[in-house]
Amino acid sequence: MSRDEAREAALRRVVREARSAQPPDIDWSRSEEQLLRATQRAAPQPPRRPTFTVAWAGLAVAAAAALWLVHERSGTRVTIAPPEIVEASEPLRKNADQLPVGSRVEARERELSVDHAKRATWTLAPNSSARLLEKGDRIALRLERGSVLSEVVPNPRPETFVVEAAGTRVAVHGTVFRVALEGSRVIVQVREGTVAVGPIGAVPAFFLKAPAYGDFASDGRSGSIDGRPLGETEQRRAEPTKLPLRPAHSASSAPAASVGDIELPLEPSISDIEAGFSSMVDVTSDCFGRNTVSAEGVQITVRTALSLRIEASGKVSDVDFQPPLAPEVEACAIGSISSVAFAASQQGAKVTRMLELKR
């Protein structure tokens, strides 16, 4: 037998041996009880409606959805378009440019992905549906059923991607995370980055840093993160009577204790950080524009990572650009950035964002 034949014979034999391996003994009765308990906990799902019914229902809710969106989101740049029902037939990828705001997207037997070019991709699991609420500066969707996995490209602007599920709002900057509706619970799994979770219309109350698993009540006001029940303080932040967060960019140097009797959050909120960063991007862009010389018709683009240390008091320290900017640009930007203050917190935060500067 040649060497090649011997290797083939060895592979055949080990395949046969692997095929004969049996699973270990499992306590099936215990497993069965656990499974049945879990299925009883899960809320019954409504039976599927035939496609034509869904289509008519979609049209019927169009007016309601439009009214709701106008009512809920007045002041935002939302344009209401007739909803489109997208089903998971071929192709299984959709370009978000082809979807008007208000579209209902439904995945049936297979996953369905929606691409927002260079910004985000969200993928509905089989038997899931979501409605596209916004796709302008911010992408927002409402998960109606099942689960959605979102991959969001980091962006210096605040909260560029939002998923609403039941009464819960999950907002991110740049990350990979999954939101699922499971009965009356909202499950949030974060694979990369950080997300902020809270009730719709309130300050985000809970922060999940990857890897993390959050299990929240449908109203987003209570739950657990990685099996740890959320404390009273965290849940109080989720109440509509919000914490009197100090406004960002106030340049105040008040110490943490001055916030009064209310216990401080562990870190500044993502909204606060993003709002602060937004103004830093503007300042840095302005400094770059004023201090960079370019020939007529030549565009200069620079990419750099801005890292900050935010102290517990909310003051900014350790401003760093990597790679460094020209000395005159840095001097200009750091002077302004250092004057920005964030809300006080227990331990402050370290934050890094990529900036793209153009002249």
Partner: protein, 206 residues
């Protein structure tokens, strides 16, 4: 037992039917998960997750489809998700399952050798890409025809055959890197009569 009859009863919300469905198929789900993972840790959790998914999605199951194919698809998806999640979790020196148990039977040595070879084989499988590994397991270990695998993985039959071909070729190339399998190949080269007869399932795909 008529699986479609059970499915219909489950779709009508009969909990007893779901219990029967679980009992009828739990072993094959556990076996497929074991073959895909190559280890038995988390097996019970995976089987439960598969049946939770089945419970959630059973209303979507269309009559006319094969229930076993649909169940394979659900199981494959759950195991792949589990593998991906496990990759991102830190490993804290999990005890090797390949540690041979003390066995005083006359065939103890042979059993230990066989266990070592199977473990080595799964290590090789782990080095294949996910797509190739999946079709290889479904075809060679589960014995499914390429057409059914194509339905499960959502790819054309030709793609399945191509993946099978390359999976097998890569495994043959990697074989020498696992001492337990290299030794077996050497033994077979020097003593062909020790080769197993018949059942040459690892054939070139047509």
């Amino acid at each position: 037992m008529d699986p479609l009859g059970l499915v219909e009863r489950c779709q009508r919300g009969d909990p007893e039917a779901f219990r029967e469905l679980f009992r009828a198929h739990r072993q094959e789900v556990a076996r497929l998960a074991l073959r895909m993972l190559g280890r038995s840790s988390d097996l019970e959790d995976i089987v439960q997750e598969v049946f939770l998914q089945v419970h959630r999605s059973l209303r979507e199951f269309r009559h006319g489809a094969r229930f076993s194919t649909w169940l394979y698809r659900v199981t494959v998806n759950v195991v792949l998700m589990h593998r991906r999640a496990a990759k991102s979790r830190p490993v804290f020196g999990e005890a090797s399952e390949s540690a041979p148990a003390v066995d005083h039977s006359p065939f103890a040595d042979e059993q230990v050798d066989r266990r070592r070879r199977v473990d080595a084989f799964h290590r090789l499988l782990d080095r294949l890409s996910e797509k190739k590994r999946l079709v290889f397991v479904l075809h060679e270990l589960e014995g499914l025809p390429p057409g059914e695998i194509a339905d499960i993985v959502g790819s054309p039959v030709l793609t399945v055959r191509t993946r099978l071909f390359y999976a097998r070729r890569e495994l043959l190339a990697l074989l020498a890197q696992e001492p337990a399998l290299a030794t077996l190949a050497d033994e077979l080269a020097s003593n062909p009569s020790s080769a197993p007869s018949g059942d040459d399932t690892a054939k070139e795909p047509a």
